[in-house]
């Protein structure tokens, strides 16, 4: 008996020692950075989508744009175009392109030439020319460009030489350069597109992406990860890391756990309630910045009873925004009184006209002759910068509306299904939001609430108001900031009167990162960029 026990003890001890030895050896990790992202990208071409997840995964990693927007100075800075000028009448923009910009070289594509004006022409003609062989390849259309009427705005794009080209506009537009600097206006490879078309797989262009950005796409495994490698011939400042991995982790708590255990170095979109954990872990820090974004509750204004402004107003009066701010954002956001956030230059502080007033809400509903109202609220299943927890927001609204006798049914699906079903446009109302793509205030109005955007997915209120459109058009043609600011305030006034949507909050932009990650630069708008990130690699744990 005792022999048996002895042997058992010995075996256990040896096994334990083995485990300890294995665990304690020096842990060598390849140079690189893991970013815990919140979801699957829908495509690898930002032209086709507006979702922040896709922009994060593609725009600043794989691609470059003609011009970039410098968040610090608020100026448009050179990217693929080194110089540009506008003709006197403001209708033509001339661009000179950078030389020796190389496209990614992968197992699927071997570029034979550097980037030229042809690639720029291809990238934009695909969007504006409905006869273009690639135009119809996109099943989702080009939502951002459609929402700003890009195709109507441009009469033609002309190649002057390999490194020079000109955009001819139909009318003056103060936001044109800003729009070219957005995350959506990326430059694709015309040569790659031709090869794919000849091979009969044109749809691969948007899936197995080729660009000129700091990282090239290596592998994407749905629900698991996206792997990028450094682009050795990148035209800009060379990335400091060899590999970039997006670890797709949809649960916010799991992202936090991975950050703590060191499986990822930067983690997206922490929930407000998790921020207290950061204080307990000295090697984790929070990076935050007031964001150019807005969370809102949009009514489907083409559907009864939401086509009645009194109903919309009643619902707006019935919800307690301060409570939502406390419970969902835990005071990491500011209350929204209009669409423009305080970080925008066109913002002006207005007193909130839509105060929390259930009595008034009831009276308005009575006036509209509505009884026993029951509505659906669609709540996003994923965390976004502007709303870290839409489901909770929906629940709070549900209880607020119960006070005025309105029943609420909350609807949610997994993100890809959610956005697909949302595009069928038979919802009552939806809790969603918008993150600006550039600092131009037009970016908050035209893509979201103009008549031209009413057919795209962006205009969640399905709202079309000629008065608002007139103001917005005027605001785009004038160039004086003071005048534009005045016009955007007018637009805000129209919206406050008509209430196609209730703005809830402007959230701070936050990422969590480990202390050994240096030089992240979080911008108030647009997607995350890892090109300049530094990482003191060493012990992984």
């Amino acid at each position: 008996m005792s022999v048996l026990i002895k042997r058992l003890c010995l075996t256990t001890a040896v096994a334990c020692m083995g485990c300890i030895l294995v665990a304690c050896g020096p842990q060598r990790v390849p140079s690189g950075l893991v970013y815990c992202s919140e979801g699957n990208p829908e495509s690898f071409n930002p032209q086709l989508v507006t979702s922040g997840t896709t922009i994060d995964a593609t725009s600043h990693q794989i691609y470059s744009r003609l011009v970039d927007y410098d968040a610090a100075s608020g100026q448009i800075v050179p990217a693929l175009a080194t110089r540009w000028h506008m003709s006197k009448d403001g209708l033509s923009y001339y661009f000179t392109l950078r030389h020796d910009v190389q496209f990614h070289q992968t197992s699927r594509f071997m570029p034979s030439r550097p980037m030229t004006a042809d690639d720029v022409l291809f990238s934009f003609n695909r969007i504006i020319d409905t006869q273009h062989p690639y135009h119809k390849i996109s099943r989702t259309g080009y939502p951002f460009f459609q929402s700003i009427s890009f195709a109507e705005q441009i009469s033609s794009i002309e190649k002057i030489s390999d490194d020079r080209l000109v955009f001819h506009l139909n009318h003056k537009d103060a936001s044109f350069l800003s729009n070219l600097a957005t995350d959506f206006a990326v430059i694709l490879s015309a040569e790659y597109a031709e090869q794919l078309l000849a091979a009969g797989h044109p749809a691969d262009l948007d899936q197995y992406a080729i660009g000129t950005g700091p990282f090239k796409l290596v592998q994407y495994v749905k629900n698991e990860y996206i792997r990028y490698r450094k682009h050795p011939d990148y035209w800009g400042e060379m990335p400091k890391i060899d590999m970039l991995v997006f670890d797709i982790t949809s649960k916010s708590t799991v992202r936090l756990a991975k950050l703590i255990t060191g499986d990822c170095s930067v983690s997206a979109l922490p929930k407000a309630g998790e921020l207290s954990v950061v204080q307990q872990h000295p090697d984790i820090m929070l990076e935050s910045q007031p964001g150019l974004n807005v969370a809102f509750w949009a009514f489907n204004t083409q559907k009864a009873p939401f086509n009645d402004v009194r109903v919309r107003r009643a619902l707006a009066h019935a919800i307690d925004k301060k409570n939502i701010l406390r419970a969902v954002y835990q005071d990491t956001a500011v209350e929204a009184t209009g669409i423009l956030p305080p970080a925008s230059w066109a913002y002006e502080h207005n007193a909130d006209l839509i105060a929390y007033d259930p009595q008034k809400a009831k009276a308005l509903l009575n006036e509209a002759g509505i009884e026993n109202l029951s509505i659906d609220i669609w709540a996003m299943p994923v965390a976004r910068i502007y709303n870290p927890n839409a489901l909770k927001t929906a629940e709070l609204i549900q209880s607020d509306l119960a006070n005025i006798g309105v029943r609420v049914n909350i609807i949610s699906y997994d993100w890809s299904v959610f956005s697909q079903k949302l595009s069928e446009s038979n919802y009552d109302s939806v809790l969603i939001g918008w993150t600006a793509d550039n600092s131009d205030p037009d970016n908050f109005f035209t893509p979201l609430l103009s008549c031209s955007s009413a057919h795209t997915q962006n205009n969640r209120a399905r709202w079309c108001h000629p008065g608002l459109d007139a103001v917005l058009t005027q605001a785009r043609t004038v160039t004086s900031r003071l005048e534009r600011r005045y016009l955007y305030q007018q637009a805000e006034a129209i919206l406050a009167d008509q209430l196609p949507m209730v703005s809830l909050a402007h959230a701070k932009r936050m990422v969590l990162k480990r202390k050994n990650v240096t030089e992240t630069q979080l911008m108030p708008f647009g997607g995350i960029a890892f090109g300049g990130i530094g990482h003191e690699n060493g012990e992984a744990r």
């Binding site: 008996m1 022999v3 048996l4 026990i5 042997r7 058992l8 294995v22 665990a23 050896g25 842990q27 060598r28 990790v29 390849p30 690189g32 950075l33 893991v34 099943r139 495994v221 749905k222 629900n223 698991e224 990860y225 792997r227 590999m243 991995v245 670890d247 982790t249 649960k251 799991v254 756990a257 991975k258 703590i260 255990t261 060191g262 499986d263 699906y413 997994d414 890809s416 299904v417 992984a540 744990r541």
Partner: protein, 343 residues
Amino acid sequence: MARYLLRRLNLFLATALLMLGILFYATSLFPVEHSYALSGVRVPSLQQQAQIIEDYQLEQGELAQFIAYVQQRLGGNLGLSLTSQQPVANELASVLPASFELAIVAGLIALVLGIPLGVLASQSQHKLTQHCIMAITLTGYSIPVFWLGLLLSLWFGVRLGWLPISGQINLLYEIRPVSGFMLIDTLLSDSQYRWSAFKDVLLHLLLPAITLAVLPFTVVVRITRSAMMNVMNQTFIRAAEARGLKTSKIIVRHALPNALIPVLKHLGLMLGPFASYAIIVEMIFAWPGVGSWLISGIYQRDYTVIQGGILAVSLLIIFLNILIEVLHTVSNPLSRKELYAAN
């Protein structure tokens, strides 16, 4: 014996057919068009539509449709995933090995630790030791796995920071799948970081495997103990003792082989709960296996993935169940005798 095997095979086929029938019926209940739920092609061209109708015999009667369905599914055509538009069979093949890896390691932990502990519990003369072991196993048996998983990850991952608590490997290691088993693939890879990657995989595997192993471990301990106590009272053991054999020899050579037979039988019974526990564990530890794949398919209303996942998991359980039963019969002299008598 041959007749017995044939009967087991028959049982396997009948059960599998029944399950396919239920799946076939359930497919027609999905709230989407029937051909879409079957094939998963989002926007079929006319040619594809014709092919789908041809494949699944959609214009024929129910029986012909069912036969076509079984042919397609068993022929490896599980349709396209609705969300990713990739063949479900490929996705399944990429997630199955991870689940197997987890299940095998968990099973090994349960057996390697459980059997000796069970033997120890049966041999101990101390009432206290016996009670302790029984109390611990009963606790382990009753702890819900989702709670245990969260507790372990909170303690070892978040508080102490010793072990990673989600995923299969630090994604900076680029491992090309060869066998699909990460432990093997890391060693096969020609990267200079091979050993570090192997360690990393091992560390990632530890917590999920332990969590999953708790249930079978407790069962193995308890069954081994009661079976051992049973066997040790038999006359042939006393005869061996009388011949002066060492206790350890008696246990290892004479008692244990007999005691393991009921353990084997219970392992078969445990497969169902083990599989559902595995799904929960995969969800908790974000393990990229069949379980989390199936659950995300359910969230995404991905009907072809749901069908494919259920088909694979249930076929596997049916098969393993019958396999264990056959093994049980082969290894058990008593039931072998019954078989011969029946013959």
